[in-house]
Amino acid sequence: MNAPNRYELYVLDEGEAPVEVNEDTKIPNAATIKILKQDHTLGNMLRGQLLSMPQVLFAGYKVPHPLHPHFLLKIQTDGTSPPDVVLSEACNQLIGTLSSLESQFKREFSFKEVDGGAGAGGAAGGAFATSDDPYGTGTSTSGAGAWGNNRDDYLDF
């Protein structure tokens, strides 16, 4: 097998820089930022956040090739701060939003557990226990047993 390891799609190589910033030579206050070993999960979220910021004139991302594990993020700002600083700020805003979401989830989950809904251990039987038998045990059905017995006739042990 000479295939590359699959984890190379999402783990940085030894000594590989996770981000490259290339300032645009023709457009003022613009940069193309190459983010390695990341995909639409991060790219689209950052693009969305950047577009909501007033100092951003343009933000777009693309994954140049589906087999190449990186994406390019192009940002143009109005000049008040450089693109990479705006990107860090966008990241920090998203981290803030996620923290707020996390604390809300924590609160909601603790309410649901108090309610006697499905706590971590409370639902031990509830979530998984079902009385019907999707596979059949083979032993309980008399038909299968009878059939099995007959098959012994041609078995040569």
């Binding site: 390891n5 699959r6 999402y10 940085l12 030894e14 000594g15 590989e16 820089a17 996770p18 981000v19 490259e20 910033v21 290339n22 300032e23 030579t25 193309t32 995909d39 639409h40 999960t41 991060l42 689209n44 693009r47 577009l51 909501s52 910021m53 004139l57 390019l72 990479d84 990107l87 981290i95 939003t97 996620l98 707020s100 979401l101 996390e102 809300q104 989830f105 924590k106 909601e108 989950f109 971590a120 409370g122 031990a124 039987g125 509830g126 979530a127 998984f128 226990a129 079902t130 038998d133 596979y135 083979g138 032993t139 299968a144 047993g145 099995g148 017995n149 098959r151 078995l155 042990f157």
Partner: protein
Amino acid sequence: MNTDPILRIREYQRDRVNFVLENVDLAFANSLRRVMMADLPTVAIDLVEIEANTTVLPDEFIAHRLGMIPLVSTNCDVAMRYTRDCNCLENCAFCSIILSLHVTCNDSVTMDVTSHHLELQPHPDQGIEEAGEEQVKRVESFGSPIGKNEAGVDPILICKIRKGQELKLRCIAKKGIAKEHAKWSPCSAVAFEYDPHNKLRHTSYWFETDEKAEWPLGENAREEEPTREDEPFDFNAKPNKFYFDVETDGSLGAQEVVMKGIAELQKKLASLVWALRKVRSGENDMDMPSGGDQPSGDQATAASNGGWGSGSDSAGWGNPTSGGGGGSTGAWGGGASPSRSGGWGSNPGAGNPGIWSSSSPAAGGWGSPSAQANGWNV
């Protein structure tokens, strides 16, 4: 999006949670969905050593079926190492779990070989080295097939054997994420819906004679006002309310999937902030020592990539006049950012179809927003 998100959990069970997320971007909600499906580590059988297999199924077939069995993976992110990060040669007690299975059929009835026959074995290395911090964090049943010692849980069928047949094998389970193989996904399904009345027209319904009759509204439609007959189309509207239903395969609980998913997204963002800072400081001080103190195990060097790089990988760049504005229809242009330079059209809300749920990460590839003619997703 500077206002806080609004969350409401509608239903919560051990292995599923149904919630409504409001006041966030479509991209944000979709990233949460993607990260829960594909970026959370679990344990799954990866290597199978078959000693005896006289069943009707070939070895590969059984090895594949074994890989799909969910194993208890609570706290997997801290309780186990990746083999690639481990300092052992092949596998050790830190980075692998050993399971064995030995079944012979001596009755004259067909017998089921199920996940309940898999026995957790202590690793042969266990005890040679002291139990590390990873092992201490493991729960008792860590690595065993889900529901093994619980009453009323149906086992997972591996194979059926008849009299005289035998299956004997040894499995090595490893930690991984679903980007490597879908067997490591903690989710069996993540339902994701927005705009149940299709007010935003992100999708169009195929129908034979009557659209309304052939596309009945789902549960989520009750949460939103239906479209009035005389309502004009609001082309500036953006989706704001998202309906999730996260269902796990049992390897992780639903709560753990959601909380770890959020934490994983934060980790991705934090590593990016850290790397950008490194690049910035590298511009000022080219001799800064590299590597060393990065938070999340990602490697970085201080080598400066800033400044006027040669821009070698700018393959797909159209120039603004020829390709830049393509794909963006005028109506969508407005949106989030007030002033936008002429050449680059922007399509802030468009992208995903209105209603879609994905049952498995492997099924449809990694969903992506719609690309423009020039390859940019904006």
